[in-house]
């Protein structure tokens, strides 16, 4: 064996083509997968060992063009150019061949070795689409491999091809434009031969004609006189076509893609309307669609609640006698009681949080993989505009119901900085699964399910008001919605299973240590006799203004680490999960409201910080804390009349 047996490959392609599915299969890692475009937001690296080779695989965000208008496009283009991967695997959604080829044609201009993975062939077949691979292969002169990434089909063939072609990389065909454009390209490339930039001369020429700002800047730094020439050529093109030169080129490229598609694709239209089409018509119907949405989300709510309650009570019966056992067998010395505090914290976490989080994630991932999320965005777009953002903002919201951290990160699918910030701000008002634990486990279980629903509704109204206010304060108009509408897919059980398991693992491995340590600290504070001092220090707020027991002061402080701690620690500290013994109904509701809206948890704070800087983050934290305390106190005073 001689030489390096290392290969780099990059997965590139349009949103929702199945890149991460390929990545996960090859590397065994677990990138987020779901049926909507824009899930992958950062590049991710993984390794595959195969037939003696070490293959580095990179997963990139989905992009639609190599002309740099969005951050993702800049990241991806530079990555491909600078990393010089051995192969770019262009993952293509076969059911959207024409649109996908527009991107493929641009990749070819980068003159890097590519392999086409024609993915989702199962769906194409269902739609009656047949594709002539050999013809496509000979037109673009690059290997074409049929795949079904969700079932791992054809993926080994890609790697075999990579290994086979490693030494003799193919020269791809290059798309030819019309005569006038080719003429311009030729004139420009003549000047560009010795420019010494990492891009091929032809690519630079085309991008200059497309007025790509990044490339223009690069050329300006090297040979500014070329820009003079390209401006003049652009002018010529514009005179002939009566359109901006970038549009002329884009048009030609699309026509070429359409032409190739006509040559290789055959569609035998099926007569009967498929189930997925029917579901689509119902779920996006202008009136019925909204009822269905309420049914689906309401159904989700009720199933999470009823399953959670049942499971939580069942766990309660199992853990019932453990504390007595500990006391009689280990004793209740100082250390023994610290030990029990640690165990009790974990038990409370399992009993209180797990039962609600588990069904929540299963349903969320199901809806996501099915394709319902994009439908919600469609239905909600109009309403979202009132909050100064467009319909895609629903996606971070929905993810935020699981956890605010990925919710805030998902705000990157919003196109402008302004919208990203407003959306992220609103995500912090969304009750995440940890807060749902408090809403369900405390209010739902001991006050009534209606009150729990009321709290959710309240949160949504608050999001609406906050959105309306902040869009007024920030100003500006919402960007218009442009979104891919994925077909419904049969949800892939294995994917849902993996993703749920990942979410739970993260929950257990991150939450459990925090809970144990907090449990021990609180117990130690208690045993040391400081509890009184801390509690009474906070009591003007907790007791006098909010009408809560003094102990909640310290719980709310620990709650900043993780919100479910508030309830879990309460249970652990009181030694019971029967909260109605220690809290009145209105105290439960008040506590839930404070927990919902006061400062975001540390993990969310750190993401906000990273995305928007410390000034905005600090402002959010301070305003939300003050606002939540004020609001909860006012509501408590109203509740005094109700109960």
């Amino acid at each position: 064996m001689t030489g390096e047996k290392k290969i780099n490959i990059v997965l590139a392609g349009q949103g929702n083509a199945g890149k991460s599915s390929v990545f996960n299969y090859l590397t065994g890692l677990h990138q987020h997968i779901g049926n909507w475009a824009g899930k992958t937001i950062e590049k991710r690296e993984g390794t595959l060992f195969y037939k003696g080779y070490t293959i580095d695989v990179f997963d990139l965000p989905g992009i639609y063009s190599l002309t740099t208008y969005s951050v993702e496009e800049i990241i991806s283009r530079e990555f491909i150019v600078q990393q010089k991967p051995d192969f770019v695997i262009n993952v293509i959604d076969s059911t959207n061949l024409e649109r996908s080829l527009i991107f493929t044609l641009q990749l070819l201009e980068l003159e890097c070795p590519i392999i086409l993975a024609l993915n989702m062939l199962d769906l194409a077949k269902k739609k009656g689409i047949t594709i002539d691979f050999n013809k496509l292969q000979s037109i673009i002169n690059a290997p074409v491999i049929p795949t079904v990434a969700s079932r791992g089909k054809g993926l080994a063939n890609i790697i075999d091809k990579v290994i086979e072609l490693k030494e003799k990389k193919p020269d791809h065909g290059i798309n030819r434009y019309g005569k006038e454009i080719e003429n311009c390209i030729e004139q420009l490339t003549a000047f560009l031969q010795d420019i010494n930039l990492p891009y091929p001369a032809r690519f630079i020429a085309v991008k200059l004609l497309e007025k790509d700002s990044d490339i223009t800047k690069l050329v300006l730094g090297k040979k500014p006189e070329i820009l003079e020439k390209s401006r003049q050529l652009c002018g010529n093109l514009e005179e002939i076509h009566g359109q901006d030169s970038s549009v002329v080129i884009a048009d030609e490229r699309s026509h070429l893609a359409a032409q190739i598609t006509r040559e290789i694709e055959k569609i035998t239209k099926k007569k009967e309307i498929s189930l997925s089409d029917r579901l689509d018509a119902i779920t996006t119907h202008k009136i019925i669609g909204y009822f269905v949405m309420i049914l689906i989300l309401g159904g989700m709510f009720i199933s999470v609640f009823s399953f959670g309650n049942w499971f939580s009570s069942w766990l309660g019966t199992i853990f019932k006698d453990w504390s007595d056992w500990w006391n009689s067998n280990v004793g209740n010395t100082f250390f023994a009681s610290l030990g029990w505090a640690a165990i009790e914290s974990v038990l409370s976490l399992v009993q209180i949080a797990l039962p609600y989080i588990l069904p929540f994630y299963i349903i969320l991932y199901f809806l996501e993989d099915w394709g319902y999320i994009a439908r919600i965005s469609f239905l909600m777009d109009h309403l979202m505009h009132r909050m100064g953002i467009h319909g895609k903002g629903c996606i971070p919201f929905i993810i935020g119901f699981g956890c605010n951290v990925p919710g805030c990160l998902a705000c990157r699918i919003m196109e402008s900085k302004r919208e990203r910030f407003i959306t992220a701000l609103l995500v912090t008002f969304i009750p995440c699964s940890a807060i749902s634990v408090i809403i369900f486990g405390l209010v739902g279980k001991y006050v009534s399910i209606l009150w729990a629903m009321g709290l959710y509704l309240f949160a949504i109204i608050l999001v609406y008001i906050a959105g309306w206010l902040s869009s007024k304060i920030v100003g500006g108009e919402p960007v218009e919605l442009i979104m891919q509408m994925p077909d419904y897919k049969t949800p892939h059980l294995k994917t849902i299973h993996y993703q749920t398991w990942d979410a739970l693992k993260e929950f257990i491995f991150i939450a459990a240590p925090v809970v144990v340590i907090s449990g021990i600290i609180i117990q130690a504070i208690n045993l040391a006799g400081w509890m009184q001092a801390i509690s009474s220090f906070l009591s003007p707020v907790t007791v006098n203004w909010l009408g809560l027991p003094a102990i909640t002061g310290i719980l709310l402080i620990f709650g900043i680490l993780r919100k479910e701690l508030i309830l879990v620690m309460l249970a652990a500290f009181l030694g019971t999960t029967n909260f109605s013994d220690v809290l009145t109904s209105q105290q439960m509701i008040t506590l839930a409201i404070v927990s919902m809206f006061y400062v975001p948890c540390v993990a969310t704070i750190s993401v906000l910080w990273k995305e928007f800087g410390w000034k905005k983050t600090l402002t959010i934290c301070i305003l939300e804390t003050l606002g939540a305390i004020l609001l909860a106190g006012l509501i408590k005073r109203i509740l005094d009349f109700v109960f």
Binding site: S65, T95, N96, S246, H390, L481
Partner: protein, 81 residues
């Protein structure tokens, strides 16, 4: 000039109808973004449906589905078929 028979904006054609894009009234960036998604002059667009009030429009372009805001749709000029 613009009074060619029947030319109208995409926002104004009915559900289920289709039209061929004549031009896009927008800057370079918008036109380019639409073009990357397959919306160019000369392509056929079919309206699948929309939501109540002035909500977004669901369209089909060469076999793939897109959703675009109503304001944007009114900038896309089409010849109804």
């Amino acid at each position: 000039m613009d009074n060619k028979q029947g030319i109208t904006s995409l926002a104004d054609i009915k559900d289920g109808q289709s039209g061929i894009i004549v031009s896009i009234l927008g800057g370079r960036i918008l036109t380019k973004r639409l073009s990357d998604l397959g919306l160019n002059s000369g392509t056929e667009v079919k309206i699948i449906g929309r939501t109540l009030f002035s909500g977004p429009i669901q369209i089909e372009v060469s076999g793939s589905r897109l959703v675009i805001g109503e304001g944007l749709a009114s900038k896309i000029i089409v010849q109804p078929k």
